[in-house]
Amino acid sequence: MKNRLKVLRAERDWSQQHLADELGVSRQSVNAIETGKYDPSLPLAFRIAALFDMRIEEIFTPDD
């Protein structure tokens, strides 16, 4: 699954650690999600969407 997490984070000038703290997860988790190595669970995807005040499908999109 592709995502715009890195772009959204850069727009706000947030570090991975800051985003991780906001979401209550580890920096490793943020890095793994940003690089597409791990797809978050639905609850975490909802938390991410709520943090950026966006809908899930505006952040995460299927590969094809």
């Binding site: 570090s15 920096r27 940003e34």
Partner: protein, 198 residues
Amino acid sequence: MNAATTPRSKPGLWLGLFFAAIAVIAVLKTTAAINPGTAYMLLAGSFCLLVPFVRATRRNRGACSSPAAARYTKGIAISSALYVAGLGIAVYLDNRMELEGTAGFLVALLPVLPIFGMIWVMARYLMEETDEYLRHLAMIGALCGLGLVLGVGSFWGFLETFGMVPHVPGWWAVPIWAVGMGLGRAFMSMRDRAGADE
């Protein structure tokens, strides 16, 4: 403070040295180059390499480390030390007396009880870890350990059936499992670092 500005220790180096030591000891013991007592002493000594590994891991994780991960590290360190001690006492007693009946059963339990402790620590970690990615990494590591035990055990078993290799005691399952878990975690860690951009 992010990873780019934090001086990083090298837990992988210590873990690699630990596994290399275990592998060398296994080869020496299997080829009868060293006796069981020497193998145990070397094995116990090699566990000292886990101390700098745990310290380096803690330094690198810093604020990222969850309370569950801290309890896991502490629990595994304690149960590993008890396992080595229990194994040493069991081997020592076995070499010096004829163990049988209830006494043999109880002595055999000495290294096994800490193994139950390890299993409990891992199960508790999976239940307590609230970070789903860290939980995912732990499960991948455990599956790698299980895969190595099943693969090596089955392959060795067939080779033994064919009379091509000597018999190996079943308690080697735990060290082999630990090696598999370590390799799995190391692979995932390298994969993470390869993709990290800060």
